[in-house]
Symmetry: C2
Subunit: 229 residues, 2 copies
Amino acid sequence: MPELKIQHILTLAELFAKGARYNFIPITTSSLGKSIRKSQQAASKHLLELEASGYIERLRSGPKVSVRITTRGHAEISKIFSILKVSLETSPSYIEFKGAIISGMGEGAYYMSLKGYAKQFKAKLGYVPFPGTLNVKLKDKEFIEAKRTLDAYPAMMINGFSDDKRTYGWVKCYPARVNNLIDAALILLERTHHDDSVIELISKDNIKKSTKLSTGSQISIRVPIKPSP
Amino acid sequence: MPELKIQHILTLAELFAKGARYNFIPITTSSLGKSIRKSQQAASKHLLELEASGYIERLRSGPKVSVRITTRGHAEISKIFSILKVSLETSPSYIEFKGAIISGMGEGAYYMSLKGYAKQFKAKLGYVPFPGTLNVKLKDKEFIEAKRTLDAYPAMMINGFSDDKRTYGWVKCYPARVNNLIDAALILLERTHHDDSVIELISKDNIKKSTKLSTGSQISIRVPIKPSP
DNA sequence: ATTACTATCTCACGAGTAC
DNA sequence: TGTACTCGTGAGATAGTAA
């Protein structure tokens, strides 16, 4: 009982598409070859091998040949199909960051509680964040790369503003979950004093308190991603 | 822009299953090799080629290597997936017979209107069939083969019986549609005077009349099949 | 026109091994 | 441990051609 050869998948799928599951469908090796973008000879060989393995049956009526897929053939391609289905469907659709909490509640807290930001947070996030950002030092290179990737995804924009002293940059806001437990928002700032390896989080309440974590603790942050069509 | 090689499908699916769509996942070529039932070298080559084609990205952090699937990689495997999906889902699930109406309303009519049969038809089909069977001479070898295939599928059984003169065989009954228009039933008899190339149909009303067809007309009969799990 | 043989070529894979 | 090179083998594809 040989397994379905990987290169026969498209051939079998093509026969399926032509309706050959329950009925004998007339087909020539050259037309089949064109459909699978291979030569007539390759199509011929595919049919011979699929027949030898019991995945299809053929019937000659004089010059014409008809093909039908067997139950075994159906089972084999269904198997491949569900492997792909499971792979694609169970794939988590979030970007995850891992790192350690670092101190730095001071400065971020000041900016985030400015009226110009707070008003927008209330309007767009639905709450005024706890006055203070949670800063996380990313653990590995791949999380820094993930941050760049995230930057390319559409975000909720908090606009910059200015008072008579200075101007304040925009803030990109991504809904996130801390330790798969606490709802928060990962924020990317137009102007930050941190380097690439630090991310900042805001939340309704004090994250350190609600997670009972402190400076140095390892945490996970997940930002959900809508899978593209 | 090279197309995804067919033998890379399972490798890419495996990476997907490991969650490598949005996050860099640490992986070794030997473990990947085991997962795809190929050698470490083959896995290494797959990754190199997938990377060269822009379907995955790799990141080295010292000795460790992490892999992430790109949007392009996602698109490619989705393409393959939908080809299979469409092939499997649009596949019609009926066995079709084509042939010409032949005369022979006499004998079948007699048997089918016997009380022993008629009572069961009423109970199991919901109606007493028009007294007379429609006989169809199958056009090609594949339809005769299809008849054998149909015989292997479960059917509604009309039991045989006997009176004081003789015994009458069982009848297997398959719901069918004539010319995708009229509901009928294809019947397989334990004892028939026809050869393999003829099928018989019964219906509530006179099929010839309701289809406005006559002896010699080509017709199509479709018997729906439940796709196996 | 078909299908499928033989010969040839390419390339996928695995063994061995360098790093 | 890792990855990825070279090289040999054989499977898969095509060209040419027979039936």
